[in-house]
């Protein structure tokens, strides 16, 4: 399983480095969305708004959905699914590998978006750095859940529109916990309790993925 996971994660990351879709399409979209959030708040409110963590996670959600669709699309080009299926890869390993690659891509995106949050929404730098561990765990959980839902919708009609409808209910608790944790890091409060909730969710999604990914792929 670990060997397959390493193989798949390396392959997905290499594809991303080559295609530069994350760099030239997804990240600019995220930066623009964050800028629009700042403009929507206006110069007077952006500096001291308590909405910054929620807006960060809203933009991150859009980025995550794009990256999940992208992650599944590379497996669905004509004939590729059949060719790769005949390699007989361990399904749990494929799930772990795709989740790890997606997590790393989301971590890279989040670093830029957190920087954008400091610049555009004027969150405190120290508070934002304190929020980083919970952001990383939240994104890991979103990547695992997203990989599951991506596999579920990939073979169906209109995966780009079906995915958000199916995945949002799964993402909602993660986003709430992430937002609360980020807010606590900025303004004080229960930072670790929300962080642990995301950690439990991450563990749960990993377990579900390892057990069920093969069935979803079929």
């Amino acid at each position: 399983m670990i060997r397959t996971a390493w193989l798949v994660a390396r392959k997905d990351l290499r594809i991303e480095v080559r295609s530069r879709v994350l760099l030239w399409q997804v990240l600019p979209f995220g930066a623009l969305a964050l800028l629009l959030c700042g403009l929507a708040l206006g110069p007077a409110d952006a500096g001291h708004s308590r909405a910054a963590p929620g807006l960060f996670y809203l933009v991150t959600l859009f980025v995550t959905l794009l990256m999940i669709i992208r992650s599944q699309a590379v497996e669905q080009t004509a004939g590729t699914a059949e060719s790769v299926a005949t390699l007989g890869l361990d399904a749990a390993g494929v799930f772990i590998g795709k989740s790890v690659a997606l997590t790393i891509e989301l971590w890279v995106s989040s670093l830029l978006l957190l920087g954008g949050t400091v610049v555009v929404l004027h969150t405190s730098l120290i508070g934002t750095i304190h929020a980083l561990p919970s952001v990383l765990v939240t994104l890991g959980a979103m990547a695992c859940a997203g990989t599951l839902y991506g596999a579920l919708t990939a073979g169906g009609e209109g995966p780009a529109t079906l995915l958000p409808i199916l995945a949002l209910p799964a993402f909602a608790p993660l986003l709430v916990a992430g937002e609360r944790s980020f807010s606590a890091a900025l303004h004080g409060g229960a930072l670790w309790e929300w962080w642990v909730i995301d950690l439990v969710a991450l563990t749960g999604y990993v377990a579900i993925g390892v057990l069920l990914y093969g069935v979803l792929e079929e």
């Binding site: 004939g79 059949e82 005949t86």
Partner: protein, 214 residues
Amino acid sequence: MSLPAVRLTDAVAVQQQFPLLSGVTLSLAPGSLTVVTGANGSGKTSLLRLLAGVLAPTSGEATVLGVDLSRHRTEVRRRVGWLGHDGSFYQDLSVRENLAFAATALDRPLSAIAPALERVGLAHRSEVRTKDLSAGQRRRLGLAWLLVRRAELWLLDEPYASLDDQGRAFFDDLLRDVQRGGATVVMSAHDALRSTALEPDIIVMAGGRVVEAS
């Protein structure tokens, strides 16, 4: 007498309540070369997908390389090779990276890549991204993919489509070698006789069934 490489008895495959194969019975000898022909929607590609273990048999008996498809599809998958008519690779990986991915997944030595590329005439394009190859070159990469993985059953979906005469001759030559090596080849084609200079067994399909075999 050796066991058939493929043996189907009344094999039915249904996907989303739509019958793709509606009772296929056939037997293919090891080392044979078979062309499956028929009109669009007759079930050619579905038959190949069933033999690849990608499509599950809903009822009937299906044995590929001596393995029961209903019970051990993963084992079948690792022993067959699939070449789709559109390329079947990761477009943003290079030729060599695609082959290395397949070789590593199947525990084949990476040293098998260079001879395979040499054999299909792609050694000089090994670092080129797959999306930048021509249709004919992608087909050659598909053959290299099957050579590297040493597939026992080659499943080729419309392999001659968009190939020029030189490409067809090359393909025929390689398939002869593959047959000599003991592998079984099954390919789909719209026009069996025009497709290949080889002398294949021909199966005609219509409505998800084999209607003629010669």
